[in-house]
Amino acid sequence: MKLTNEDVQEILQLLDATKCDELHLETRRFKLTLKRDPGSGRWTQETQHLATPNLIHSESAPPAKPAPVSAANSADTPESASLAIRAHLPGTFYRAPRPGAPPFVEVGNRVESGTVVGIIETMKLMNAVHAEACGEIAEICCENARFAEKGTVLMRIKPSAP
C-alpha cells in the first residue's frame, strides 16, 4: 500500500471529528505521524518513506568515481610551521575561476590574508576559498575538480610577516 497526499487529507478529516490529537501509522513502506497542536488545533505531519529502493542494474555500468578527499585522510600531519587552508563547506574544489583559466595560485606564490586561492562548488553555488594568513603556498593538497568533505585540507601556507 502506498500513501498519497489525498489519503493524508482524508485521515485528517476523520481525525478532526475525534478527540485524537496524535496518530502514528507505520507499515513496511512508510511511517506517518500526525499531531494536533492543542492550542491552535492545527495539524502537522511527519512522513518517512521506508521502502528499500528496487535497484536494477543497467548494462552500462557507471564509471568508477574517484574517492572523495575526506577530512580524515588528509589530516594535519606534516610540516609543523605550515597553516592549513580547509574547505569551509563540502563541495567540489576548483583551482581556477573557470575551465581553461590559469589557477588562482601555484606552489611558491605569495598570498595575503584574504587572497582567493580556490573555489568550492556547493549546491550549484561558487564559494571563494580565502587564505587566512600571509605567506607562501607550500603545498596544494587537493586536486582540481575533486570533491572535498568539509574540513578537508586544500592547501598549506608557510606563514611569513605581511
Binding site: 500526525l34 511527519e46 549546491m123 553555488l125
Partner: protein, 452 residues
Amino acid sequence: MILRRILVANRGEIAVRVIRTCERLGIETILAASEADVHSMAARMADCVICIGPASSAVSYLRVDAVVAAALAAKADAIHPGYGFLSENPKLAAACERAGIVFIGPTIRQLEAVGDKLNARAHAIAAGLPVLPGGEVRTLDEAHQLAAHIGVPILIKSVGGGGGRGMKLAHDSSKLAAALELAMSEAQASFGDPRVYLERFAARSRHIEVQVLGDGENVIHLGTRDCSIQRRYQKLVEEAPASGISGSLRETMHRSAVAFAKHLQYRGLGTVEFLVDCDREAFYFLEMNARIQVEHPLTEAVCGLDLVEEQISIAQRRRLRWKQHDITFTGHAIECRINAEDWTHDFRPSPGTLSRVSFPAGLGIRVDTHIQAGATVPPFYDSLLAKLITHGENRAAAIHELRRALASCEIAGIATNLPMYAALVTNDEYSRGPVDTAFLQRFLENRATHAA
C-alpha cells in the same frame, strides 16, 4: 498510444511529484538516479531505480546517452525530464526519437526555437508580441551603438542562457565594456556559447508569466503567476494569479501567450514569461520555458488540474482535454521555496543530514518535498528542499494561511531559509502587494541595517 512505463530522469521534489501522478494513473515508474540519489525518497517510491552515474550531474543527470540507455534497459515507453538538467535539451528529445521512446515535452524544433533566446525573441516579434528594445551584439562597438539607441541602464543576457546566469547589468555606457566582457565569458563557460544580446532594463518591473498547454494545434492558457520575489534572478516566492494588474492587461497577456504558443504550434506544457514595466503599465516578452516549472503547483491550486497528468496525456498524442471556457480560477495561491541556505550568512548553502522534518497538514496547504528525517541533502545539486503552497479565497487569506503554515514547518539538522519567510510574510510592503523584482533586495538590506 498509451504510456505504461515512464523513466523519470530527474531528482529531488520534482521526481517525487512526477512519480505521484504516475502512481495515481497506474503507470509504472523507473527512476534514473545518480549514485548520490539511489536511496532518495523518489528512489524509495519508484517501482525501480537505475543508477546512471556518479554524483556529479555532469556525468549523470546531464548525460543524454546514460539517460536513454537507462530508458532502453528498463523498457520504458517514455522519459519525463522534470525541470532543469536535460528538460529543455533538444539532444535528449532527438535521442529519444531515434530510440523510439516518447519524450514528454515539446518537439525538437520547438525546443530549439525557444532555447536560443534570440531565436525566441524573433518568434515573439513574428507572433506580434511586444519585446524590450534591444538585440544581438557581437562587439563592444555594436554594444555602444545599440546602447546609445535604446538608452541605459542596459541588461546583457546570454543567448544560450536561462536562470539568470550570464546576465549582467550596465548602469551607464562607461560600465558597458566590463559588463559585456564578463557576460560573454560567463555565457561561454556556462552554456558553451558566448553570444549575448542587450535589452533595455526597466528599473521598476515585475516578472509575470502565463502557463500554456498545447496539443500541437490548439492552445489554452491556465492563467498568470507572479514571480517577482527573486534573489539574484532565483525565484523564492511566487503567487497565482498575479495581483494588482488591470483586467485588460491580464487578458492581453493571456492572449499574447496563447498567440506565441500557437505560432510555434506548441505541443505540451510551457510558460511564457513577461516583464511588466510598472511605470509604463506595459508588458514585454522575455522567454518561453518549454518544461514543467517549479512553481506549477500554484496553477494546479487555482485551476484544479494536475499538470503532470496533462503532460502525459499530450505525450500520448491525445487532443487537449479542455477548452478555454472549461478552465476556471478559484482563489489565490502562494508558494515559498524552502532552500538549504543560511540566510543569516549571505545564503550560504547548507547540505547535511536531517534529524527532523515536520510540515503543516490540512486543507489549503500543500507541501511538495523530497526530504524526510534521516535523509541526507547532498552538496552536488540545487538547494531546494520543499515547496510550501497555501491556497485561500483571496490573497489576504492565502498570506494569513501561509503565516500559520510557516510557523508549523520544522526542519532540523541543516540551515534553511524558513526564518526569512517568517519575516517576509509579516512585511507591510509584501502584505499590501504587489511588489517589484527589486523588493527582496530592499527587504534584505533593511533587515541588515536593523540588525547592525
